[in-house]
Structures are given as structure tokens and as C-alpha cells.
């Protein structure tokens, strides 16, 4: 009898916890930050963690965009991303291909930021410039987004996950108003 009551209480607590966990999902702040500056707006799509098809590899990109007139990269989005690997660290990336439905885009402007060892994982940070048009196309076809990261002698295939699709839907709404 006592065990039954305890189980019911635990179940109730768990339901409440699940409900509360779902609350921030309704807020766009979970996926994008918008900061007003003097003469432009800065958009920051928060990092989304995705698993590569290759075991033990994680890809975590974030995107920064600003409509700053006169800025050299105004028609480009900065994609900063982390690659977590358990085996050899990735130090150089030749290109990244974005598959979005039937379309695909390639960026070769990938620069190395830093490398660090976190416990047993290698964390390499890179930065790349992506044309705004390509980024928008990828967001609009988030259901079929696949990132292909071509590193030295290795290629990592990263399909967009549920969080990516959720994030893309909200970020696309912000950027299409531009």
C-alpha cells in the first residue's frame, strides 16, 4: 500500500518535471538571441549538438548573422563549430557540404580556431563563412539537412537531428523577415 502511494507520488513528480522541461521549448530564446545595436541587429543561433554517423564524433555548430551595412561579410553568416572526437583530433577541414533536399552548398573558407583536450575527448573549434542564401536554404529544408565535413583523409556525415529541425524552424522565421 505504502509503495503504491510512493509510486503515484513519484509519477506525479515526474509528470510535473516533464511539463516544466517542456516550457522553455515554447520560447525562441532557447534557439536564437537577437541583440539590437546602434545601426544593425545581431542574430545568434545557439549551438545545436548533433551526432555524426561515425561513432564517437559530435558536431556542434552555432551561427552569427548581422545586417550591418558596410560590413565586408554582410551577405555571409559566420558558422563557428566544435568537433568532438575520441580518437585522433581533427586539425584541418578542407570543406563542408550542406545537403538540403535536392540542393547542396559547399564552403571552403574554414579556419582553425583552437584545439583542446577535454577528458578523453578532443575538442577542435573552427570558423567558416557561409553565404546567407545557402544558410536560409538549409534552414528551410531542415527536414533533410545533412552536414558533410571533409577533413584530412576523413569525412564525417552529420544528419540534422530533432533539435536542429526545431531550431531551424524558429531561426528561419527571424531571418526571413530581413
Amino acid at each position: 500500500m505504502y509503495t503504491k502511494i510512493m509510486f503515484r507520488r513519484a509519477g506525479f513528480g515526474l509528470l510535473l518535471l516533464l511539463f516544466l522541461q517542456g516550457l522553455p521549448a515554447q520560447s525562441s530564446g532557447k534557439f536564437i538571441k537577437q541583440v539590437e545595436q546602434d545601426s544593425f541587429t545581431l542574430y545568434f543561433a545557439l549551438p545545436v549538438s548533433m551526432k555524426a554517423e561515425e561513432a564517437r564524433v559530435k558536431f556542434e555548430p552555432d551561427f552569427t548573422y548581422h545586417d550591418y551595412e558596410g560590413a565586408p561579410g554582410r551577405d555571409q553568416v559566420t558558422m563557428n563549430f566544435s568537433l568532438f572526437t575520441k580518437e585522433d583530433p581533427v586539425k584541418q577541414i578542407e570543406r563542408i557540404e550542406f545537403q538540403a533536399g535536392q540542393e547542396s552548398f559547399t564552403t571552403k573558407n574554414v579556419s582553425f580556431l583552437y584545439l583542446e583536450k577535454n577528458g578523453r575527448k578532443w575538442h577542435t573549434r573552427f570558423s567558416a563563412l557561409v553565404p546567407v542564401s545557402a544558410y536560409r536554404a538549409v534552414l528551410e529544408k531542415a527536414e533533410s539537412t545533412v552536414f558533410e565535413i571533409h577533413a584530412e583523409k576523413r569525412t564525417f556525415i552529420v544528419p540534422g537531428n530533432r533539435k536542429w529541425r526545431k531550431s531551424a524552424g524558429i531561426v528561419a522565421e527571424y531571418l526571413t523577415n530581413q
Binding site: R9, F12, G13, L16, L17, L20, Q21, L23, P24, S27, G29, K33, V35, Q37, D38, L42, F44, L46, P47, D62, T64, H66, Y68, A71, T78, N80, S82, L113, Y114, R125, S127
Partner: protein, 102 residues
């Protein structure tokens, strides 16, 4: 009603566990943002973020230093810093830093 009292008591007990520093906090649920002191550099074209997490106050991991967040976005001049705190029943808590700059 009895369940609520038990839940509140439990939340109160646990909220001291997965602790996060914030100007205000909710016993059951916290989800808030607040800002740090801005610098003399007003322009921000880059954003870097870093996060720490705590489970029951027993396990806490991560690096949410300004340096870590700035390094992630290659920021050399900081404009301002924002913080975000989330906590559920004191069981799971995250503290995130956003560094804006050039």
C-alpha cells in the same frame, strides 16, 4: 493537495542542491536571463557561449568562463556579457554565459 506539499518540500530540499547563482530564483522552476557590466566597446558582431551544468549539486561540470566563451567565437574585444540560468526542481541546473564583442 498533499502531493503538492510533498513536492514543495522536496523542491525546497533539492533546490539547495543543484545551485546556480542568480539575482532571483524559483523554488520549482527557474528560467531567467540577466546582464553583466558592459565595457567601453559598444559594438558586438560576434557571440560566444559556454555552459556549466549541475545535477543535484552532486555532479557539476563545464567551463563557463568569459575566456572560454570569447575564445569560442574568436572575440578579442568584449562589448558585454549576459547570463542565463535554468533550474528544474533543483535537480538539474544550467548556467550559461554569452559574451558579445568583436
Amino acid at each position: 493537495m498533499k502531493n503538492f506539499i510533498i513536492l514543495f518540500a522536496l523542491a525546497g530540499l533539492l533546490s539547495g542542491c543543484a545551485f546556480t547563482a542568480a539575482p532571483v530564483s524559483g523554488l520549482i522552476y527557474t528560467d531567467l536571463q540577466y546582464g553583466g557590466v558592459p565595457t567601453s566597446n559598444p559594438v558586438a558582431t560576434k557571440v560566444g557561449t559556454a555552459e556549466v551544468t549541475s545535477i543535484l549539486g552532486i555532479v557539476a561540470t563545464g567551463n563557463a568562463s568569459i575566456n572560454e566563451a570569447a575564445q569560442k567565437a574568436n572575440i578579442s574585444q568584449i562589448s558585454h556579457v549576459d547570463y542565463e540560468v535554468k533550474s528544474i526542481l533543483g535537480i538539474y541546473a544550467t548556467w550559461t554565459i554569452y559574451v558579445y564583442g568583436e
